[in-house]
Subunit: 359 residues, 2 copies
């Protein structure tokens, strides 16, 4: 089943890669390093999960997925501009195993323009801000190209407005909340704010992808309809389960699978739901132990084991696993109420693939 969904994802990625490469939007951008920066993330690609959600939701309601392709490109480029700006904000130097946009441009300044290190770094950040700005415009422009494919202009306007009014606003708010929570003592963070942040940073874009694909197929933007609400429910729960699985994998997984050092959330003192659950359950010496295992400069395998035991013994691990299972069940339950066809199977398989589960 997973190999099937991987093949289907590769097919979507193939279409997307070609559409993005052929798009003339970045061509007249200057100077050269800015033009390259605008192209890089969209062309590098990832798994193209978001375009797949959009196209398959379109197929789910009997729509022509080829006509929806500009929208699939739009959500991918939208995702990419948020990554470019997030990478600046998080001071990350690697993305998909390659230098982040601001780091790459800083290197260009050092080598091609012979700029001193501190000025090169500032130049990298400045141009990466601008690259993300141009990418946001590129995403909007791609969405508006739906009209060239015969989609009703009034619907195109409604979808683009939803991308700007609902998606952008909530996603930016989620990111800002993440930045603000990082300033607080993690122990004082409210779980409610973390749920809100996960929804804004992850689920809202997944929901938009599905709802946009469905709206194109159904030729209407009735986001309050039963079908659209079910898609949002699927996305909200999928996003939450994905984040919870990621929290668990960061502690209980293998380093190769997680892609980052184990316990990096604890190292960075991030208020994950797993951490907050343990904090709630622990008292006395155990609460002191949790504090002592947070924010360490290095997590040896011995320390990872200690933290695992602490989180397991207090029941936090189990609670988070149950929460994830419950969210997964809710996601699939919503999906099962939607039309029964091959696209529904693909969406279910994609959920399983993302959550590393057999579904």
């Amino acid at each position: 089943m997973f190999s099937d969904v991987k093949n289907e994802l590769q097919y979507v990625a193939g279409m997307l890669n070609e559409a993005i490469r052929k798009d003339t939007f970045p061509e007249t951008i200057y100077p050269e390093e800015l033009r390259l920066a605008v192209r890089t993330y969209p062309e590098q690609g990832g798994k193209r999960i978001r375009p797949a959600l959009l196209l398959w939701a379109c197929g789910l309601f009997g729509g022509d997925i080829l006509k929806a392709l500009p929208a699939a490109q739009a959500v991918e480029i939208f995702h990419n501009w948020t990554l470019v700006h997030d990478d600046i904000i998080d001071s990350d130097s690697l993305r998909r195993g390659k230098p982040t946009t601001h780091v790459e441009i800083a290197r260009y300044a050092s080598s091609k323009l012979n700029t001193a290190a501190d000025k090169a770094e500032k130049f990298g950040t400045d141009l990466a801000i601008l690259a993300g700005d141009a990418q946001q415009a590129w995403a909007v422009n791609s969405m508006l190209k739906l009209a060239e494919n015969g989609i009703d202009p009034a619907l195109v306007i409604a979808l683009t407005r939803r991308m700007q009014e609902v998606l952008n606003r909530q996603l930016i708010s989620g990111e800002a909340l993440d930045v603000e929570l990082a300033l607080q003592d993690p122990a004082s963070v409210q779980a409610e704010d973390v749920y809100r942040m996960i929804s804004g940073k992850t689920s809202v874009l997944l929901a938009f992808c599905l709802q946009c694909g469905a709206a194109i197929a159904r030729n209407k933007s009735d986001f309050d309809s039963e079908e659209q609400k079910l898609l949002a429910e699927f996305a909200e729960n999928l996003g939450l389960a994905y984040q919870l699985e990621d929290d668990l994998l960061g502690v209980y997984g293998e380093i190769e699978e997680f892609g980052k050092p184990l316990c990096s959330d604890f190292q960075e003192r991030k208020p994950t739901l797993l951490y907050l659950e343990a904090k709630k359950r622990l008292s006395g010496d155990d609460a002191v132990r949790l504090d002592a295992l947070t924010g360490l400069p290095f997590y040896s395998m011995e320390i990872v084991q200690l933290l695992r035991r602490l989180l397991t013994d207090c029941g936090a691990e189990q609670a988070i696993r149950e929460l994830s299972s419950s969210a997964t069940a809710k996601a699939l339950d919503a999906l099962q109420k939607l039309p029964d066809n091959e696209y529904r199977e693909r969406l279910a398989a994609l959920a399983g693939y993302l959550l590393r589960r057999k579904i």
Copy 2:
């Protein structure tokens, strides 16, 4: 004449202020400091030159300027998001006599969240990036609201695409070029690149405002038509003359009028057209004198006088004044070929007001 155009601008500003204040777009943005930041520049307002250009170009072709109001709001908010990001890039701390967005948010972090100075500064920059991102979405959303005013959806899509494909791309490129030129030795900068930068940073938005207003009135997006080309010519030359007058005012003006310390362009080693013209004309000892008067930490009135004499004696001042007069004449010449009515008079008066001339 100037008091007339000032009154007309105030009328436009009044309409804009009300529209922006009533707009619900920012309402659901969180956290609070981000919501306030998104509102600040658009609500503070400036002279609202860009909305005036749009509305008056609409009136010039007999359009209903009330219907065009969402577009006027869109160009103003578009201008504002570029200012928020520019202020980060230029590390400016003041805008219209008040703290810039990133400085204001950093202060909030220091006082309300008790954050250390370096973290507060980073927080200010991070949230200001996000505020500009949300404002870009707000601008697009405002433009799309034209459809609610009965403007043909296909035309609304064409105008929004032009805002993203042409305006955004050229403006961002102009800003990036400005950042890159600042890394170079000003003496090695090509005048051609400076013209390109002025066009991208200033003229392109002015042209978009005029062309958008005209397209709404004419109910078509024929940007290759004679009328639209004349509007672009007016804008290109107005933008250039404005920049040249600003260069001259920075050296020959009064500090109260310029709003910044005199010779700040020379202090910051900016490759203005005035500087490049002098560089071209000077040789031997005078060339050394120009170099010596560039990049100084402080410009006393004596130094300002020395620089003025150097720029005047070599003919650079006169050359730039002639270039500005020629651009102004070209702008007005283009305008005179457009319909003769009160809106044309207003646009001419606005040009005169911006260029501090009787026209």
